[in-house]
């Protein structure tokens, strides 16, 4: 290595060094600590001795019915994101792109509006919507003619994810719409014009030109949706009250939180909580790899 290379190396290290140190301390260290903790019985709150317990925490996790309940709910959230938010966002973006509605900018702003609101505010808003004699109950009462009828889907484990899914779509669809709209606007309009001159119909333009060019954006959106869905905590936590509703709607991050931070009876709760959080990461990675694989089959990343 000559002097010039050495100097460049020093400059390189000097430039990335501070950022790398911050990254290692704030991101890498907690990940490694969490991985280590999940193989021990250590309780950082009480301190003291610890032992290596192998896969005990993971074994406890897969034998815990609450884990599978939370996992099932998380998969529903992923499905709502992937097959609800993304398609609706895409359709809305396409309608705006093709100028199919008047006041497009107004609708664009309205759909994107929830992104400007705090998640906690949105959670409380939807909690009020589904409360006793709240707007959802009032609608049921009007249509049924029974003033005592209540919107009770939040109380049942097998129906609680419907209202939550609805709220998730309301909140995040605007985000995906904007991603798709930005990508649609990058498409060379002359391609669409040429297709129209050649007699292509609107569905043909959509399926033969737009869709192939948008697979990359759809893949990126799917990855964002999966990662966001699996770590999603705040909206569901704010929408539900402590007790039956939150137990019904429990997703893996809430299960991890309740285990590590609230279950004082379990002295290994931090280690168990770490195992759950590692499981969330592993599940996310598997699903993202799957998305990439699916994307590759559809030629994701095709050039404009």
């Amino acid at each position: 290595m000559n002097k010039r290379d050495q100097k460049e190396l020093m400059v390189f290290l000097g430039m990335i060094g501070p950022g790398l140190l911050v990254y290692l301390f704030i991101v890498a260290y907690p990940i490694l600590y969490s991985a280590w903790l999940s193989f021990t019985d250590f309780n950082p709150n009480s301190g003291g001795d610890w032992s290596f317990v192998g896969l005990l925490q993971y074994k406890t996790m897969v034998e815990d019915p609450n884990f599978w309940h939370a996992f099932k709910n998380n998969m529903i959230v992923v499905a709502v994101s992937a097959f609800g938010q993304i398609p609706i966002g895409f359709v809305l973006a396409y309608i705006l792109f093709r100028n199919r509605v008047k006041w497009g900018h107004f609708f664009q702003a309205m759909v994107f509006l929830p992104q400007f609101l705090s998640t906690i505010v949105i959670g409380i808003l939807w909690k009020r919507m589904f409360a006793a004699d709240g707007p959802a109950s009032r609608i049921i009462q009007i249509f049924s003619g029974d003033p005592s009828r209540q919107f009770d889907l939040m109380l049942k484990a097998d129906t609680v994810m419907y209202p939550i899914g609805f709220a998730l779509i309301w909140m995040y669809t605007g985000f995906y719409m904007l991603i798709f709209l930005a990508n649609l606007q990058k498409i060379d309009k002359s391609m669409v014009e040429a297709a129209k001159i050649d007699g292509a119909t609107e569905p043909q333009i959509f399926t033969r030109i737009i869709m192939p060019l948008m697979t990359g954006a759809i893949l990126v959106s799917a990855i964002l949706a999966i990662a966001g869905s699996l770590k999603g905590f705040d909206l569901i936590f704010a929408m539900t009250t402590q007790g039956l509703q939150r137990n019904n709607a429990m997703v893996l991050p809430i299960f991890m939180y309740q285990t590590a931070f609230q279950d004082y009876r379990n002295p290994m709760r931090f280690a168990y909580g770490s195992a759950i959080s590692n499981a969330i990461v592993i599940i996310s990675m598997v699903m993202i790899l799957f998305s990439n694989w699916v994307g590759s089959k559809f030629n994701a990343g095709e050039d404009y």
């Binding site: 309780n43 950082p44 709150n45 009480s46 301190g47 909690k127 589904f130 409360a131 006793a132 004699d133 709240g134 109950s137 005592s148 209540q150 919107f151 009770d152 939040m154 109380l155 049942k156 009250t241 402590q242 007790g243 039956l244 509703q245 137990n247 939180y257 309740q258 590590a260 931070f261 609230q262 279950d263 004082y264 009876r265 379990n266 002295p267 931090f270």
Partner: protein, 434 residues
């Protein structure tokens, strides 16, 4: 361009002034004590919009103005965020010197687990506190925090006296008396007893904490069950759960209560939509409608069907939370002295009276304290009620925590919603506990 420059210049001058003022203040503080001020790292409870938080900020502000040698370096959080942060700080080793804490299974557990509970008995001034009003919190009579007031009453029935009398009834002595009000209340479009049933803890703290004593005749039944002397599947506990089922079937509590949250419950009662509300004593301060507040009578649950003599008239009561030093704080003599100086101000008669007026406490623990005669009617009623309680029973979540407690709370909601039976809920709790 000129306008932007002018704005930038103004901003710079203002910020510089603020910075220099801060430096001057700090320098004054340093010089007053002849050294660096003592920093008391504190975990406080409240938020900027409630009486508890505003009172804390005000007290800290004037204490530090008058004691420039002390800095109360606090982090203030409320509700779930507070509990989460306590666990996170203790687990990470960032132990505060002084904190809002309790001594039971919910408020005291993380401090106990971290070995940070510290006995205050030697520092409590006999001239200031009536120590007979401060219950023992440890096995040897230790006092781990200074309670804000006397025992926290959690199973209180708030009765809208005017509304009850308007319907032709009077203060109920038995459950049957309440049940008799149902047809008239329903005809008037009113609830009989409102509860924030969407909050699982409300069923445990405000209902079951009295019912277990009523059906068993033992006010300490829950603590004995947690110790293994009783089982949650015992007939007396199942009978207590059956009372909830019975109240829903009788229309005394409406099934929709399980969809009502804390704020809505108080608002419903405050707006005259219910004859009674069940909550803890702290809810008194939230009844904002003066017509309802001035007409409210506070009472214990009346005699319930199948009630045993040993539990008659019992009211769920837990040790009140308050501020205390941690072991880490007490280890440093300067910090300990500074913190106790602050606590003397925090628990002063003036501040305690304000807390009483805010509705935050039942009754003070100060020696020779004279209750002011000009208290708001609802607060005076609370003091009267507290003094009338003859028998206090275990509050469930003061002894039962984690998954069994969550299951019990959610189980009671399932009973109300018609999704579980009392026997099933009892079996599930017992299964998780042992």
């Amino acid at each position: 361009m000129k306008k932007a420059l002018f704005t930038l210049l103004t901003l710079t001058v203002v910020l510089s002034t603020l910075f220099l003022t801060g430096c001057q203040k700090k320098a004054d503080g340093d010089s007053a004590s002849g050294g660096a001020p003592v920093v008391v790292k504190t975990m406080a409870y409240g938020d900027n919009s409630n009486a508890e938080g505003m009172s804390w900020e005000r007290i800290v502000g004037y204490f530090m103005d008058e004691n420039p040698d002390v800095i109360i370096d606090y982090e203030m959080l409320y509700d779930e965020a507070y509990h989460q942060k306590v666990v996170a700080r203790l687990a990470s080793g960032d132990v505060p010197h002084m904190a809002y804490m309790g001594a039971d299974a919910r408020w005291g557990a993380p401090w106990k687990e971290a070995g940070q509970q510290w006995d205050h008995r030697d520092l409590l001034k006999d001239s200031m506190y009536d120590t007979s009003l401060i219950p023992a919190m440890g096995p040897n009579g230790e006092i781990y925090e200074i309670p804000l007031g006397t025992s926290n009453l959690t199973t209180v029935l708030f009765m809208n006296k005017a509304l009850v009398e308007e319907l032709g009834f009077s203060e109920p002595k038995t459950y049957e008396d309440i049940k008799a009000m149902v047809p008239a209340a329903q005809a008037a479009g009113l609830e009989v007893i409102s509860i924030d049933g969407a909050d699982g803890w409300a069923w445990g703290s405000c209902v079951m904490s009295a019912f277990h004593a009523r059906t068993s005749g033992d006010p300490n039944w829950v603590s004995k069950a947690v110790d293994g002397q009783n089982k949650f599947t015992d007939p007396e506990f199942v009978a207590a759960l059956e009372l909830i089922d019975m109240m829903v079937k009788d229309g005394v509590i409406e099934q929709k209560a399980v969809l009502v949250d804390y704020g809505t419950n108080i608002s419903n009662y405050s707006n005259g939509k219910a004859l009674f509300m069940v909550q803890g004593q702290w809810a008194a301060g939230g009844i904002e409608n003066p017509e309802v507040a001035d007409n409210t009578v506070m009472m214990a649950w009346p005699a319930m069907p199948g009630e045993k003599a040993g539990g008659a008239g019992s009211v769920g009561a837990a040790i009140q939370v308050g501020y205390g030093l941690t072991k880490a704080g007490a280890a440093d003599e300067n910090v300990k002295a500074a913190a106790m100086r602050f606590l003397d101000v925090f628990y002063s008669e003036e501040e305690t009276t304000q807390r009483l007026r805010d509705g935050a406490i039942v009754a003070p623990i100060l020696k020779g304290y004279q209750t002011p005669s000009d208290l708001p009617a609802i607060i005076a009623e609370k003091v009267r009620f507290a003094q009338s309680v003859a028998l206090q029973s275990d509050v469930v979540d003061a002894f039962l925590s984690g998954a069994p407690n969550d299951t019990l709370n959610a189980g009671m909601q399932k009973i109300v919603a018609g999704q579980s039976t009392p026997a099933e809920v009892a079996a599930e709790v017992e299964g998780l506990l042992r």
